[in-house]
Amino acid sequence: MSAKNRTVRVFRYHPETGGDGAFHEYSLALDDESKTTVLDLLLRIQREHDPSLAFRYACRVSMCGSCAMVVNGQEALACKTVVAALPSGPISIRPLNHFPVIKDLVVDMDPFFDKYFKSAPYFDGPTDQTEPAQIRPDSRERKLIGLSTECIACGCCVSSCTMVAQHPTYLGPASLNRAFSLLLDSRDQLRTERMAAVLESCYACRTEFNCTQVCPKELSPTRAIKHIQRMALGTSVTANPRGNEAIAETKPDVGQATVAADMPTDLHGTDLCRRAMLKRALFAVGGVSALATGSVLGMSVVGPSLDPVEKKRVRLGVTEDFAPGEVRTMMVKYSRMDAFHEAEIEMPVMVTRSDENELVAFNSRCTHLGCEVHWDTMRKLFLCACHGGAFNVDGSVKAGPPPRPLARYPVDVVDGHVYVEVS
């Protein structure tokens, strides 16, 4: 097979020169891409181009988890990623996210293992039994734990998780996956302590499945985190009787002095804080919703009456219709928008001619209590049947309780047509 050139862009950072680091391009002639891994590329760059290129690797068979890096924007083990499986074009290789870069592709994994040990990732078995405690391979418990014990702590999941950067105290997918496999283990003696350690973290997951998608061992930390969340539902909020000392006592000597130093001693600190926050949030959301709903309802009830009333110009007839000394009661019909509702209005208007031969339109409501007045042709008076109020033909009060003359509407005459402006 003929050799084919591939461009490889490798992130380079040197601690002595500092700066942000940058991609360096290398061109490699590959004989058979299906038999070349990304780790092979890096080894060839180191041998053929630049011996100072730094990267970690050990087992070469995806068992040790040393060679995790971001290849073409996706976390992967360099030893497991075959070049033929990558899309054509330049191959970009950069260090993992969320970890300080020591040199080139080598990152400081201390933050990873600090968080890993916070979930007490070791088994603490029962001490009161003489026979070995076993979990049968076909038991429900073992099947539920499944492959989650296969984690090689490579850090791919933590690098792919967007929530790790957002929540500094979030233990991350790897640590929670380890906690899950031990929390489900019926022999484990540190259940309460472990639960207290991961309780706050298990809610930081946003169900993005990034960790599941990149895991080189094809585990699902998301499944583990969801399971811890469901276990937390059944966990009562009680003080942990043993606290940090319990984890410190039982911890095997693994050379990690920082274990459990800052683990929560009970569930109160973390959980009550969350509860108080949720309570406040609930009240705040309730208050804002009530205010919003209340103001909308309030505006719809009060609003229309605050709006300036629209004037309507309605035609009554022609000037010849209105003889001097005669009063005509006309029904005026028009429609008006009342908020969302279109109201059909029908009301009587009394039209007459004044002494100066001017057309006058009266509101037919009595100024006393609003009853309708009618024109008495015999007595030449507007009479109100309710309380005996009487008005002269010019609208002034003749007798009875009305306090002021009848209200008038403006009238105008255009080309012999009579219009009245009502509101």
């Binding site: 500092g18 073409n72 993992l96 870069v101 993005e208 499945f209 990034n210 599941t212 998608q213 499944r223």
Partner: protein, 113 residues
């Protein structure tokens, strides 16, 4: 240990920093999370518009669309949270719930208009 601490390290790389494949490699699950956040903000804005400019079909449709997205993606998280659906179907859930949501949207829309 002492020697390593003396060397300056570069600040951790962020998601997408120096990463030409960032958007191409954004996973379906992360898109659904981002889209749910976006639709949440869109609902707040459109709800305010809906209350101040009443009976505008465009605003009503966009609001209904955003509520559909938000509800479909929210249902997906609830189903996964309570293990009502196995996590291995997480991608299929996005498609199924979105399709069901949009079908419901058009049924409702045809009932109204």
């Amino acid at each position: 240990m002492e020697h390593r601490e003396a060397l300056p390290t570069r600040a951790p790389l962020k998601q997408g920093e120096f990463d030409p494949g960032r958007w191409r490699n954004t996973k379906a699950g992360m898109w659904s999370w981002l889209w749910q956040r976006f639709s949440a903000i869109a609902i707040v804005v459109l709800l305010a518009l809906h209350l101040s400019l009443t009976y505008r079909p465009l605003i009503q449709f966009l609001l209904l669309l955003m509520v559909t997205f938000h509800a479909a993606l929210g249902l997906r998280v609830i189903l996964l949270d309570f293990s009502l659906v196995n996590v291995k179907y997480q991608k299929a859930l996005i498609a199924v719930l979105m399709a069901a949501g949009i079908a419901a949207l058009f049924l409702i829309w045809n009932q109204i208009y």
